[in-house]
């Protein structure tokens, strides 16, 4: 603060006027001079400033500003000189002077340093020369500009022409940046120039190269261009195939600066090519396309297959590779001739053409040729068909035909005659010669009417038959025909119309058979038939008479029958009567005969028991005899009644298991002490019978067997069955005393016994009962034996509804 007070304060000094002793002249001199100086100084910077502002191009502008500052500062010191005359602020004046000094020194230094440059500044003469040169240059420039303008016009025109070209053209530098992109490119790819941005073309179009890009680029650098096919993808995703030509752009010094790519859309062409290829491959024939000198250009897959070569082995080779060696030279001649006057036709018509496979084998072919005009000149397309199978078929057909001809000619029993549509004979076989007497030489060319009788000819039979064959395809007729020697035969004729595939009548086949003999036979047969019919009618009359007679007999028989029936009825009634008498008899036997017997027994027993003392030993013996006799009599009565009952009884057949009946019969037998019998009962079938009666049969037979083995130390009784011719035979076998077969016929008689009562008791009714039961069943019973060798009783049970196999053998021990 002090400083500023000092600076702006008057201090202790006297104003400067005092130094001039306030001499007005001197003071005013200073005042006016200093004021003028200050004014001048102040005006100069403004002028400078204005100048600097006007002349912006002026170099050293800052020097002028520095200069202005220095002059203003000088002017200010003069203003303070005037101020100090009356005011003693010398510090301020001093500082202002110091500031002025700094500005002055700076300006001086700068100006001094600028001096060399200032010296360089052209002089006005220089300016003049320079101006002249400048004018010349301006003139040159103007001329250049004019020529440039015309060059630009040419360039624009060329650009426009490039735009007009149908091919997509673009130019890219070696950074792959696109510098040119024509409208066709826009059209083809769908991208506009300004949409491409920084993308490279290969990226943008996803180019697919035929081989490595490096190779292509190397080719471009080496040769200056590359041609090939590329695939590009359009903006909308389609793939287009282009035929591309890349041309190298060089700079002024010949250095490569970029590539112009010119792309033609060949997608359609390619598709067509592909279609052509497909068509070629799909063709059923081998297709070989050769150029004018017979060099193979194109082959299809069929060719590879047919000839056994690979495509690569054929392309570029002379077509004679596919031709047998023997005809090489001839083929080449023919081929050249064809090249001179090419037109579609089949090759080697009528000849047997042969192809040759890689392995040397040859095969029959059929070839058709057609010329093709292409940019590369005339090509010849040959379509080759392997006809091996057809040839085989044809030769087979020929063989068949030959055989058939031999066959037809060899037939002797049939005349086989070929006719033309008018009925003229065209072929004649051996049979025809044999039947009709003409040789082939004599008859061929004659009309068939010569075989017909005058009557048939009058009725136009031959013409009629041919007409019918034409209408119906085939016709048949029987009639008289005339041989060469004038004799006639009865013919069976079949005429068939022969037509080609189109239905055109080719002629007739006439097959004639001599059936005279058959006709004669038929006539004989007819006569015989008539005779027979006559006889039949005669015999019928006889029969009718016989029948009448028979009818009379019949009524006699009928009357006889009636009387017979009456007699049968009578006899039946008689039988019924007898039967009831018999019944009454047996009832009475059962009841009345038994009663006295009972009395005899009863009283004899009472006598024996209660009158022991009164009777002698002899008396007792006699009583025993009486008692034994009554017992036997009782048995006799029982057995007789049983026999009688069986005669009366109706047989109730049911299916019954035989072994079960045997078991029951065994259980009913009285057990005998001190004796062991081995009972061997085999498994027996189930049979249809009256079980009660058959049980009685078994009871009798088993009891007999038991009785007659009594003397045997080890008795064996066996029951079994065997089957012969589907009929079961049951048997009961024992190893007892047996019987003499001499008396076998007496076995089954009532009261017939083959053993003494003392040896073996019995009534002689049991086996009679058994036989009656078996007979009532419709069966048969017989026995086999010899003395001391046991006996076997066999029986059958009559018709059985079904036969069952016996199961297995079982043994039952009894006793």
């Amino acid at each position: 603060m002090e400083f500023f007070r000092q600076l702006f304060g008057p201090g202790d000094f006297m104003p400067h006027g005092y130094c001039y002793l306030w001499n007005p002249g001197l003071v005013w001199l200073h005042v006016i001079s200093d004021s003028l100086i200050a004014l001048s100084y102040f005006s100069i910077p403004f002028t400078l400033l204005w100048f600097v502002r006007k002349r912006r191009d002026l170099p050293f502008g800052f020097v002028f500003i520095l200069f202005g500052t220095f002059i203003v500062a000088c002017g200010s010191t003069h203003v303070l000189e005037v101020w100090n005359l009356w005011h003693s602020q010398y510090w301020l004046a001093g500082f202002l002077k110091a500031f002025t000094a700094i500005a002055s020194v700076s300006t001086a230094i700068v100006v001094a340093r600028l001096l060399p440059q200032a010296l360089d500044a052209p002089s006005p003469s220089d300016w003049k020369a320079a101006t002249k040169a400048l004018e010349n240059e301006i003139q040159d420039r103007r001329e250049m500009e004019a020529s440039l303008r015309s060059a630009a016009a040419i360039f624009r025109e060329q650009s426009e022409l490039l735009e007009l070209i149908h091919d997509a053209i673009f130019v890219r530098d070696f950074q792959n940046k696109i510098v040119f992109w024509n409208q066709s490119a826009e059209r083809l790819y769908g991208w506009k120039k300004d949409e491409i941005g920084e993308r490279t073309t290969h990226d943008l179009l996803q180019t697919r190269f035929p081989y490595d890009l490096e190779l292509i680029e190397a080719a471009v650098l080496a040769k200056g261009y590359w041609e090939g096919e590329l695939q590009h993808q359009t903006r909308d995703g389609r793939t287009v195939t282009v035929s591309s030509r890349w041309a190298l752009r060089r700079g002024e010094n010949g250095e490569p600066i970029g590539v112009l790519e010119s792309n033609r859309d060949v997608t359609k062409l390619k598709n067509e090519e592909k279609r052509f290829q497909n068509f070629l491959e799909a063709a059923p024939d081998a297709i070989v396309i050769v150029n004018g000198t017979g060099i193979i250009q194109i082959v299809n897959a069929q060719t590879e297959k047919m000839f056994g070569y690979l495509r690569g082995e054929l392309l570029g080779m002379p077509v004679e590779i596919l031709v047998p060696h023997s005809v090489h030279s001839r083929h080449a001649t023919h081929r050249e001739a064809y090249s001179q006057a090419p037109q579609p036709r089949s090759m080697g018509a009528g000849l047997n053409l042969q192809g040759r496979r890689k392995d040397g084998t040859e095969f029959p072919v059929e070839i058709s040729l057609s010329p093709i005009d292409t940019a590369e000149g005339h090509l010849i397309s040959s379509s080759i068909r392997d006809v091996t199978e057809r040839k085989k078929f044809e030769s087979r057909l020929q063989e068949t035909e030959r055989r058939f001809r031999i066959l037809v000619e060899g037939i002797k029993d049939y005349a086989i005659v070929g006719l033309d549509p008018q009925g003229t004979i065209s072929s004649w076989n051996t049979g025809a010669e044999r039947i009709k007497g003409y040789s082939a030489g004599e008859i061929i060319g004659k009309h068939i009417s010569c075989f017909y009788t005058p009557e048939d000819l009058a009725k136009n039979i031959p013409g009629e038959l041919l007409r019918r064959a034409v209408d119906q395809g085939v016709t048949e007729q029987e009639g008289w025909r005339v041989r060469k020697d004038g004799t006639q035969f009865w013919a069976d004729v079949v005429i068939s119309a022969l037509r080609d595939d189109a239905g055109k009548l080719l002629g007739f086949a006439k097959i004639t058979r001599d059936v005279t003999e058959r006709r004669n036979l038929e006539q004989e047969l007819r006569t015989a038939n008539e005779l027979l019919e006559h006889r039949v009618s005669e015999r019928t009359l006889e029969l009718a008479a016989a029948i009448t007679q028979l009818r009379g007999r019949q009524s006699e028989i009928s009357a006889l029958n009636d009387s017979l029936e009456a007699r049968v009825e009578d006899r039946t009634a008689e039988l019924v009567r007898t039967n009831s008498e018999l019944e009454a008899f047996s009832y009475s036997v059962s009841h009345d005969l038994r009663t006295p017997l009972r009395h005899v027994d009863g009283f004899a027993r009472i006598l024996k028991e209660e009158f022991v003392a009164e009777l002698s030993a002899e008396g007792h013996r006699f009583l025993d005899r009486i008692l034994a006799a009554t017992t036997h009599m009782g048995h006799l009565i029982d057995d007789l009644l049983s026999l009688a009952r069986i005669g009366r009884k109706e047989i109730q057949r049911i299916a019954a298991p035989m072994d079960e009946l045997v078991k029951q019969a065994l259980a009913g037998l009285p057990l005998e002490e001190r004796r062991t019998i081995e009972w061997r009962v085999h498994v027996l079938p189930e049979m249809n019978c009256d079980p009660g009666l058959i049980k009685l049969v078994f009871t009798n037979l088993l009891s007999n067997a038991s009785k007659f083995t009594r003397t045997q130390p080890s008795a064996l009784i066996e029951v079994g069955s065997c089957r012969t011719d589907g009929i079961f035979t049951l048997f009961v076998r024992d190893n007892g005393v047996g019987f003499d077969p001499k008396y076998a016929d007496k076995l089954f008689g009532v009261f017939q016994r083959l053993h003494r009562q003392e040896d073996f008791e019995g009534t002689g009714i049991g086996l009679a009962t058994v036989q009656r039961i078996i007979h009532r069943h419709g069966g048969r019973i017989w026995a086999e034996s010899s003395p001391e060798n046991g006996a076997t009783f066999f029986f059958t049970l009559g018709p059985q509804p079904q036969t069952a196999e016996p199961r297995e053998t079982a043994e039952i021990k009894h006793g």
């Binding site: 009832y587 059962s590 009841h591 038994r594 009663t595 009972r598 009395h599 009863g602 009472i606 017992t631």
Partner: protein, 154 residues
Amino acid sequence: MAERLEIEILLVEDNMADAELALHAFKKNKIANSVLHVQDGAEALDFLFARGIYEGQSLSHHPRLVLLDLKLPKIDGLQVLKELKGNPKTKAIPIILLTSSNEERDLVASYQLGVNSYIQKPVNFVEFQEVVRQLGLYWLVVNKEPPAAAFLVS
């Protein structure tokens, strides 16, 4: 009114020899004390229905057992059986056919008429005695006789 005999067994038998043998057998088996022997069916019915020569006799007592032969004079055994079993007054009396017949038709007819037992007389007397013994034992000892109410006519 004559006192009715206390008859335990009524033997209906026309054949005297048979009757004698039967009675002998009863005697041997000590059951002969109250046997009444009648010789035909008519008499048997007269006795049981208290008529004819038995008229006036009380019906309050019935024999414990009737032994009936099939072949009887006048009225045969089956007829007697039919009348006795067909009448509520006599229906409860046990009737045993004792006959020499073993004809099926007799058996069938007897059982259909309601006989209580059917026995064929064995020819052998020893066997006959045994049959009589068993018969008496069963019907007179083992078997419970029908109570008086069984003879009431409702």
